[in-house]
Structure formats: C-alpha cells, structure tokens
Amino acid sequence: MKTALRGALLAATVLAACGPAVAEDVTLTIESWRNDDLSIWQETIIPAFEAKHPGIKLVFAPVAPTQYNAALNAKLEGGTAGDLITCRPFDGSLDLYAKGYLAKLNDLPALENFSEVARSAWTTDDGSATFCVPMAAVIHGFIYNKDAFAEVGVEVPSTQAEFMDVLARLKDEGSYVPMAMGTLDQWEAATMAYQNIGPMYWKGEEGRKALIAGTAKMTDPEWVKPLEVIAGWKPYLGDGFEAQAYADSQNLFTLGRAAIFPAGSWEISGFKRDADFELGAFPPPLPAAGDKCYISDHNDIAIGLNAASPNADAARTFLEWMGTKEFAELYSNSLPGFFSLSSHEITLDDPLANEFVSWRKSCDSTIRSAAQILSRGTPNLWSQMWGVAANVVNGTQSPADAAAEMQAGLAAWYEPQKN
C-alpha cells in the first residue's frame, strides 16, 4: 500500500518534473555530475535518441560534482532519484549496488558490446553481476602548447630526463609558465600528477594487482619514486600554485600563458574551444629510454538503472541504445577525450583525441591504482591520495612520509596489507 502510494507519487513527480509531456510518453531522468556536458546531451544525444524512440523523453539533470554523492544518496533513500543513474567507477557504484539501489543488468543484451575489462569497473568482485552500462574511459597524458614549444625551441620529451630538461629550458626562457597545475583542489595532484606518471614506475596492472594482493606496499620504491618525481615539479609550476584552483590552471593554459598542462583526455573539447594556439599531446615520459610504456586508461563513467524506477522498461531501452555503435560514435565525437568503452570500431574526428588513443598501441593500459578494492575502507585510500599528493607537490610532506601515511591507512583496514 505504502509502496504503491510512493510509486504513484514518484511517477507524478517525475512527470511533473518534465512539464507538458504527452500523457503516454514516458519521461526518464538521468542523474549525473557532468554538468559540463549539459548542452551536448540537450543538443546532440537526447534528440538522436528521441528521434529513434518516440514515446520516451529524456531529461539530463546534472548537479555540481561536489554535490553529486550527497544529493544522489539522499534522493535514492527518499525514493525520488531519477530513473538512470550515472555511475562512478568501481567501489563508488559497487556500494550503491550492494545497498540495492542499482538494478542488476546481466540480462541486457547491450552488455555484449563491451569487453570484460570495460565491464570490470561496474561488476561485482565475483563477476556475478554487472550493474551499469559502460560509457567512457579517460587517458592521462600531457597537453602542450605547440606554438610555445616552437618559440622556445624545445622538442617533445620522451624520457623523464628530457622532460625535466624541457621544463628547465621553458623556465629559463621565461615567457611561459612551464606547467599549469595547482594544488588548491587537491585532486589534480593525485590524478593529473601521481596517477598520470605513476604507472610507468609501478608497471601498470602488475603493480596495482600486487598492491591488492598484498605482495607490494605503498612504501616500496616503485610507489615512492613517482611521488619523488612529482615533488620535482614544484619549481616549474606557476606563481602561487598552492592557491591555484583547477579552473585557474585551465585558464592559465588556454590563455596561452603556460606551456604544458598535465591532463586527462577529458580536457580536449574545452581546450579546443578556448585556446587560440595549436594543441599537441604527449604520453607520460618514460623513466629511462627503452623502458616499457604504461598509461592510465581509466574506466571513468557509466550509466545504471535505478532499482526503484517505475519506468524500468523504457530505461532499459535507453541502456540498450547506449550499447549501439550510433551512441558510441555520437558520444565520443561530441565529447572528444571521453573514449567509448564499447567494442565497436569508431572513427574519431579529433586529431588530439586520436593522438591520445594511439598510445594504446605502444603502451599497456591500467586503471587508477586506488580505484578498485583499495578504497572500500576507512581511511579511504583515494581521498588520502588527494591530500598527500598535494602535500608532496607543495613540498610540505616528503615523498617517503606521504607513502608511509598511505600505507598506514591501508594497513589499518585492508587485510592483505596488515602486518
């Protein structure tokens, strides 16, 4: 009785939320933190879907990334969350599935179009249930200002030594801030710095799995070394980088005042819009010439079905469509830098995006080291990594201390890392 009432109210509110829809139309609401993508959904993706599926209307309802978890949790508990939920990768969404908020999607044919690796970010540990349809992965690397490189007369570096040399020469020359990165928002230090260059040192999946198995520790040299590397970036960041927010870094680069931006591929579309110079990209530098190359190629975003959705059938229709080549092409090309996780052959129009993707041929891919399993306890390793990586770049904590702090945090709750 109560559930029926709640269902009816829910349906009513969902309908009310979408204004004058024709009575038979089903309206699906997508919860998301990607407010940057609002216009792309509204102008490209949604019209394409609605044209193919009359009777289903879509509303893309993003909130600010910092509020997404809180708002989504409250709405899920209160039963007012949207029909489709944008899934954070690995442990974040696994928690929602475990609480019963996300529906199991194993019977969805569309999942066939995704490799096991792509699905792994939204599948239970034992592989028995998949609960989100993968959308995109993002690749780390460095985006640079080609004009600035030409002007100063530096070449794209391929090893760590060359990289430091380029930074030093940019600094000596003085017309450009060598590298645009700030530590105010903390996550840049963890994501664009540590996870960007780190896989080269911990050897991608090999190191990540050793950490999960407990055969390696964060205090081992392959995990400390990348912290030492990013500590060495400090002299080449902009004046007052400690108070430089993420948006400041973006502006510093797109206004042509900085030469290199330690990046995720998701920056591509924004940079192309804002920068009036030529953009290039290079993968993280090798520790030494001839080393094997590893890149962070992280499953980042997916969409799942709210287990309480009254419009499950329509929502499944949409999820099914997400598995098609049409969606993959639309999405990857309207948001260059978000690389579709589907197995379809996709042609990317954007040269910069193609540059990022080309690294997959020469390098081994890995996901972010703290994303899977290691962020399930308290203290949360990923949150901790934000803080200590920022400290290391700021020079307020030594790489060894930072590593010891993360190891102690992990050892506090993660069985294989205890003792």
Binding site: D91, G92, T183, D185, A243, A390, T396
Partner: protein, 310 residues
C-alpha cells in the same frame, strides 16, 4: 470577554499561540533529526549489508581510533580558532560600525549601512567564488593591490598555505557576516530611550565615555545574543569551506571544520562512500558541543546580565 473572570477557565490561548510553531517544528525538524541521531547507534556490515545495533561503538571509534579521532580533534581545534577569530574581529567591528552609525546627525548612514550589510546577503557560492578570484595568484587582483601600497612582498597564495588558509577563510567569513552584529547592535542602540542619553549628557557624560558607561551596559544582552549566534553559526559552518577548498578542506585538512568532516563522512565524496552511521555520531557530538556552549550562555552569562525594561 470583559472583566477578569473569577474562576480561571482553561487558558486556551496558550496552546493556540504555541501549537502551530511546535507542530511544524516537531514534524519537519525534530523527528527527522531524531531519526538521523538514532543511526549513530547502528552500523552496516560491509559484507552482508545488514544493519545492526552497536551501542556506543561508533563513538568509541570516533574518539579513540586514530583515523577518526585525529581528523575529528583537528577539526574541533580549527573550529575553535574559527570562532575565536569571529569573536575578536567580527563582533568588535560590528559594534564599532553600529556605534558610528548611531551617531545622531551623520549624513549618508543609510548608504553605509546598506553597503556594509550587502555581503551578508550573498550566497556562499558567490562569496566563495569571488574571494577565490580575488586571492587567485593567476588573476593577481590582490597582488596588484598589495603592491600598490608597497606590501607586494607580503602576498602569498593565502588559501593554499597551511599556515594562512584557515585565518584567510575566517576573515572571509567575517567579511560576509559582519553585517549581522552591526544590524542587531544598531537596533539595540536605537532602542535606548532618549531620556537616558539626555540624562547622561546633563551629567556631562558624552562621547566615548558615554558609549562605554551608558550605552554598552544597556546593549550587553544583545551582545550576548550575538555571541551565542556566532558560536552556533561557527560550529555549524561548512558551506564556505566546501565551496572554496573542496570536500577535503585542504591544504592538508588545515581548514577542516566539524561541519566539513560531518558532510564528508555522512555523504561521502568521489569514490568514498558515505557512512551515515559515523556521520550521525559526529552530528550527535557536535550537537552536545553546541548544547554545552548554549548552556553556558543561558545559565552563566545570561543570568549575570541585567535586563532593563525599556
């Protein structure tokens, strides 16, 4: 009606006056909050997802587990500092401005009052963003301004340094809220009867000594209210830190307040799932800290304040 009845009937007017407020407040605020606080005695099992009663275990973890206690006491210390700055800077400035505004024939006071109150009207989103811009080393507004008065060498990335971030944010918060003590004190000063002031002037008590000897004692109850409002407001503060420094209250948790640690715990962030049970434990402790402060005010300070019927 008419006349006082001999035998008092049931005073229906009391429940009529009280009921609407009590009812809405209880239904919409107290019951949901009680439900939240109840959570602090439960914990969800990581494997089975079943929730079970754990007594005071969450509280024990909060105080004695170094991964909970460390951040918690750090936040408590930061919060006290945040409060002290407000008491030392915000409230004296508020009183000063109000005293100046209440000078009898000051032209332009309406303009001053409106202008100084303006920041109080802004949302945290705006305040946080504006100050981030102002202090941004990239934009360089504050650097240029400090240089123009010869203080350029003192410029630092204030929000990004552990030593300066919390003080900077406290002062931003003071900037935002100084209008509140100003308005309250101003209203209190205006309601001092003219006869009192005239009598003081006849006795030759004017200017500063008039303010300290006559007016200040009269407005002390208002100062008391302001102090307690500041205390409660500061110990619930969270939005400003969240919008400027992000959910991890950086750098290195130097700006973490009880409010930020509570929201981070309760709702989680990024891949860190929320823990409503530990969050509820933190909320309960915060509640008792604030309750203790309010009790000190109600039973110690307020009793010593003399109220003057005006």
């Amino acid at each position: 009606m008419g006349g006082k009845p001999q035998k008092k009937p049931f005073p229906w007017h009391i429940p009529v006056f009280l009921a609407p407020a009590v009812l809405i407040y209880t239904l919409v605020m107290i019951l949901p909050l009680a439900e939240t606080l109840r959570l602090s005695f439960f914990q969800r099992d990581a494997v089975s997802q079943a929730t079970s009663y754990v007594g005071f275990a969450n509280y024990a973890r909060l105080f004695f587990d170094p991964f909970w206690g460390g951040p918690f006491f750090n936040a408590l210390g930061n919060n006290l500092y945040f409060f002290v700055i407000h008491m030392l800077v915000q409230n004296p400035i508020g009183i000063l401005i109000a005293a100046l505004l209440s000078m009898t024939h000051l032209p332009g006071k309406k303009f001053y009052r409106t202008a100084i109150f303006l920041p109080t009207l802004l949302s945290f989103v705006v305040v946080g963003f504006v100050w981030k811009l102002m202090l941004s080393p990239l934009w360089g507004v504050s650097k240029d301004m400090m240089s123009s008065v010869g203080l350029g060498h003192l410029f630092m990335p204030f929000l990004g340094k552990e030593e300066t971030a919390l003080t900077t944010l406290s002062l931003i918060s003071v900037w935002q809220f100084v209008g509140i003590p100003m308005m309250l004190i101003y209203a209190a000063l205006l309601s001092i009867p003219d006869e009192v002031i005239e009598a003081a002037e006849c006795d030759g008590v004017t200017g500063l000594s008039q303010f300290f000897k006559i007016k200040l004692p009269l407005i002390l109850p208002t100062v008391g209210i302001i102090s307690i409002l500041t205390f409660v407001g500061n110990f619930n503060a969270f939005d400003l830190i969240y919008t400027t420094q992000g959910p991890l209250a950086g750098p290195n948790f130097s700006t973490d307040l009880l409010g930020t640690i509570l929201y981070r715990t309760f709702y989680g962030q990024q891949t860190q799932p929320g823990d409503p049970n530990m969050g509820a434990a933190i909320a309960t402790v915060m509640f008792f800290i604030i309750l203790a402060g309010v009790a000190v005010y109600l039973f110690v300070i307020q009793r010593k304040l003399t109220r003057y019927e005006m």
